[in-house]
Amino acid sequence: MTRDLPRARIFLCTGLLAALVVACGPGGGPQTTTIQVKGSDTMVNVAQAWAEEYQQVAPEVDVEVSGGGSGVGIAALIRGTVDLATASREMKPEEVEQVRANTGQEPRDIVVGYDALAVYVHRDNPITEITEEQLARIFAEDGDVTTWSQLGIAIPGASDDTIVRVSRQSSSGTYEFFREHVLKDRDFKLGSRDMNGSKEVVELVGTTLTAIGYSGMGYATEAVKMLPLAAAAGQPVVPPTVEATLSRAYPLARSLHVYVLGEPEGEVRRYVDWILSAEGQRILQDNGYVPVRDSD
């Protein structure tokens, strides 16, 4: 009776070993350079698309992409463990200071595109527009709005009209951008669902009738709608579009950054230049963001 327990384990171990061998097998081709990219969850999709496309451009360069949040990318840059850190917010002065102290190099800020931070609600939510002030009242610690009826909205088919706030984890650049610009550096109301990625926010909003969340405009799906936004009541209501982002008419427009240690050199330099080239910017645009230059 005891016999089959070890056998199952051995079976498992053999499987793992086999997986390991397979994983190690074909790697290590001749002269590959690896570029490590880490950071913003907002940008992880486009960073991944760049990495894949770059395989065609320069097969000898391997670009490895991971997310975690802008803060995670910048923390990795401070430790010197990545070549590029992506961030959907600007580096803070104390972070720049830490980079200098830890690596002895100056972080170089390269703006690679623009994004509008969109406010998402469920497709069936009848709300048509929202103001930053209302957002603050929903999301801020001292905000008084907890139900949709307080905003004069009746959600059809919802038994409980408590607003389900969907937010981001605190390492997210989107989280900090929203806190700085919408909450004016006040704190978030506790009890929001803090998702670990831009996509998860939109997914949860898409499956929750009474939810409201914020995420990059590139993550819009069929199940959600993006709300046109006004800075305050009476101000012009602007939908998050490419034009409104470029002209900065949309209140929550932001730039997307790539940070490098010192002046980029060699393959990293080539990669960054390629990102800023017409092709790199076209990929950025395909992912729903606004390019820094016209791709035509």
Partner: protein, 312 residues
């Protein structure tokens, strides 16, 4: 030696033939085994020491309030205006998810262990054990994914809750993860009860249920408690699955359908961005210590309970 009797010769004979290597080898093996024996203690102390060393500076910092840390629900580690480190909501999150998981997993786990050990046919037993081993081998991130996608939809449909990732979801997922452990170890414990107990009980005219209830469960209680404790351990320490399934909201839950955040998930989500050596980083290590203390308290309580049962 040659003039000794045959018996004593046989006893004494091996000694001179043992080479220095064999003696040294045996000594070495002996100390190796002894080291393995105490290594668990060394590792526990080592882990505690290193975690404590990372946490200590903030614990003794003048501006740090331990009361706030333990009993405030306000967790604002990266606030731009007013940084506050209150972990009560996280502790309650961990405890509530774990309690729910154990409530669901223990009856199922022990029931399955009793069934596999006592009631089912040998063929069914083999199959069940393999399936349960497989269940135990599913990585936690896969469980989390199931919670996030399948289970959350089921919960929304069945309960009408606005959000499917909540305390109930996390509890069910953790229960599913703990059950295989409880079953495997519980079944081993029941199997370790000598057959003579069963035979004696049957000879006295006990029914199968009476054998299980009056003889096997009391006889195997230490092993069964170990099974439950390891299950609890998995539930308390689980990170990835609860990170994905509980909704990750800092609040004291008022019902099964509220989202919660656990200590472990909070550490996993925030440690990556906290700059090494910052207050936030140290406070996260301090929450690690808190988790350590919680598990220790649970284990100690269970151990005392078993002693109590034994004395009675």
């Amino acid at each position: 030696m040659s003039e000794d009797g045959q018996g004593s010769q046989a006893l004494a004979a091996p000694r001179p033939h043992r080479s220095l290597w064999a003696v040294a080898g045996e000594r070495f093996l002996e100390s190796l085994i002894r080291f393995s024996g105490v290594s668990a203690v060394i590792f526990v102390l080592g882990i505690f020491f290193f975690v404590f060393r990372e946490a200590a500076p903030v614990l003794f910092a003048p501006g740090f309030d331990l009361g706030e840390f333990l009993f405030s629900t306000r967790w604002y580690p990266t606030s731009a205006s007013n940084v506050r480190y209150g972990t009560l909501a996280l502790t309650v999150g961990t405890l509530s998810v774990t309690a729910l998981a154990i409530l669901l997993a223990v009856p199922f786990g022990l029931g399955a262990a009793v069934y596999i050990s006592e009631f089912c046919s040998p063929r069914a037993k083999e199959t069940l054990k393999i399936v349960i081993e497989l269940l135990a081998a599913i990585p936690s991130v896969v469980w989390g994914f199931i919670g996030l996608t399948v289970m959350s939809r089921v919960i929304v449909t069945l309960t009408g809750a606005p959000v499917g990732v909540n305390l109930l979801n996390g509890g069910v997922i953790l229960a599913l993860m703990s059950v295989p452990i409880i079953v495997s170890i519980g079944e081993d414990a029941l199997k370790a009860v000598p057959d003579s107990y069963r035979e004696a009980a049957v000879a006295l005219g006990a029914t199968r249920w009476q054998v299980v209830y009056r003889v096997l469960l009391p006889a195997a209680r230490n092993g069964l408690l170990a099974a439950v404790l390891l299950g609890v351990g998995r539930a308390v320490g689980e990170t990835m699955a609860v990170l994905m399934a509980t909704g990750h909201a800092v609040q004291i839950p008022h019902g099964l359908l509220d989202s919660v955040r656990t200590l472990t998930a909070n550490i996993a989500a925030e440690l990556g961005e906290a700059p090494a050596g910052s207050d936030h980083y140290r406070v996260l290590f301090l929450t690690g210590l808190l988790l350590f203390a919680l598990t220790f308290a649970v284990n100690l309580a269970a151990d005392l309970a078993v002693r109590g049962v034994r004395r009675r």
